[in-house]
Symmetry: C2
C-alpha cells in the first residue's frame, strides 16, 4: 500500500485520493466501520462506486489510508521540554486521536503500521527516548513498549465504552463470587480512564528512565 505510486497525473481531477480518504474518515466517524461501503462512500462523493477503484486498489486500502490520516492529527511536540514530558505529550495526543475516531481500534488489528504519519511520530518517539541513554535494540524495545501501551489502552477503552450502559455491569455484579478480586477493587469501566492512562504511562516511564541512566 505505502509502496505504491500515486504521483499527480495530468490536470487535477475533481476526485482525488485525498478527497476519498477524507470522506471515508467522515463516514467512519458518522456511522462506524460496519457501514463503510464502497457504494456508500462513492455516493457521498457524488461518483459511481466503481470509479473509486481507479484511485484505490481495494477497500482495505481506504481503511489503511483513513487510519494513517487519523494519526496525522496527532500533534508532534516541539521537543525540548524534557524527554518525559515530550513522550507523555505525544502519547496523550495519540490516544486522544484514537478515542476521537473509535473505529480506528477495530481497523488496527493485524495490520502493519507503515503510513507516513505513523512513521513520523514513531521516529519522534525514538529520537526522544534516545536522550535517556538507551540505544539500539534496547531503545527499540522501549519505544515499542510505550507505543504498545498506548495502543492497547485506547483499544480496551473503546471496547469497554462501546458497551456502555448495557447489562454488562449487572452481569459482572451477578458473578461477584466468581471474580472476587475484580469485584473488590472495581472494574475500570466506570472509572476515570484518563487518570488510569496517565498512571500506567507513569509506571512505564519510571521503569524506562531507571533503565536508561
Amino acid at each position: 500500500m505505502w509502496l505504491r505510486d500515486d504521483r499527480p497525473r495530468r490536470g487535477a481531477p475533481p476526485l482525488t485520493r485525498e478527497r476519498i480518504v477524507g470522506e471515508a474518515v467522515a463516514l467512519l466517524d458518522d456511522e462506524g466501520v460496519g457501514r463503510l461501503t464502497m457504494r456508500r462512500l462513492a455516493e457521498r462523493l457524488g461518483t459511481g462506486s466503481t470509479t473509486l477503484y481507479w484511485h484505490v486498489e481495494t477497500k482495505d486500502d481506504v481503511l489503511e489510508l483513513a487510519l494513517d490520516a487519523v494519526f496525522g492529527d496527532v500533534a508532534v511536540p516541539e521537543g525540548g521540554a524534557g524527554w518525559r514530558a515530550d513522550v507523555i505529550d505525544l502519547m496523550s495526543g495519540w490516544r486522544r486521536a484514537m478515542l476521537d475516531h473509535p473505529w480506528s481500534a477495530a481497523v488496527l488489528g493485524g495490520r502493519p503500521l507503515l503510513g507516513p504519519n505513523v512513521l513520523a511520530r514513531t521516529d519522534f518517539l525514538y529520537a526522544t527516548l534516545a536522550s535517556t541513554g538507551l540505544a539500539g535494540t534496547r531503545l527499540a524495545a522501549a519505544a515499542y513498549a510505550v507505543a504498545n501501551y498506548v495502543i492497547g489502552s485506547a483499544l480496551m477503552q473503546v471496547g469497554a465504552e462501546s458497551h456502555a450502559g448495557s447489562a454488562a455491569a449487572g452481569h459482572l455484579a451477578r458473578s461477584r463470587d466468581l471474580y472476587p478480586a475484580l469485584a473488590e477493587h472495581g472494574h475500570l469501566d466506570a472509572g476515570d480512564w484518563d487518570a488510569a492512562f496517565a498512571q500506567g504511562l507513569d509506571h512505564l516511564l519510571d521503569g524506562i528512565g531507571a533503565a536508561g541512566s
Copy 2:
C-alpha cells in the same frame, strides 16, 4: 453475548455450541479471519449453514466465543512464586496464545472483553498485583496497564509479521532520511520480539513495584 442463556436442553444434540466454537477456531487458524463464513463453517460441521443460527445469534457471536476460547488456553499460574514472576508467567502465556492464533488480534478491536476465560485471568491478575500494596483504583489502573501492554504487543507483532518478507524493509530503507532515528536504531521488525516483550514488561513492572511499596 455473555448474558445470554444456553443451558443444555433435553437430549444432547450432536451439534453444540462448543463444537461450533471449536471448529470456528480451527477454521480461523487454518484460513484466517477473512475466510470465516457461516456457510463454510457449517460445511466443516456437516450441517446446513442456517442451522448455526439456532445455537448462535450472529456471526459476531461466533467470533467472540472463539476469541474467549483462545484465552482459555492461557495457563493460570499456581501462584506463590512472587507477584512479579506470577504476572510475567501469566502475561507470557497470554501473549503466546494471541501469537498462536494471529486472527485474535484482528478480532479484538473495538470489542469488550467479557468472556469467562478473560475474566478469570483478569481476576488472577488483580489478585496478584494486590500483593504489591496497590488497591482500589490504583490497582485497577496498574492491572489495565499490564493487560494493555501485552495486548498491544501481540497486536503489533502480529501486524508486523503479517508483512514479513514483503517490500516493507526496502520501503523503510528508501526513506532513511525521512526517519533518521528509526533508521539509526533499527526497526524492531527483524529483531527479537520475545526479548523486547520481556524488557518492556520489566520496565512496566519496575514502575509498578516502585509505586506499590
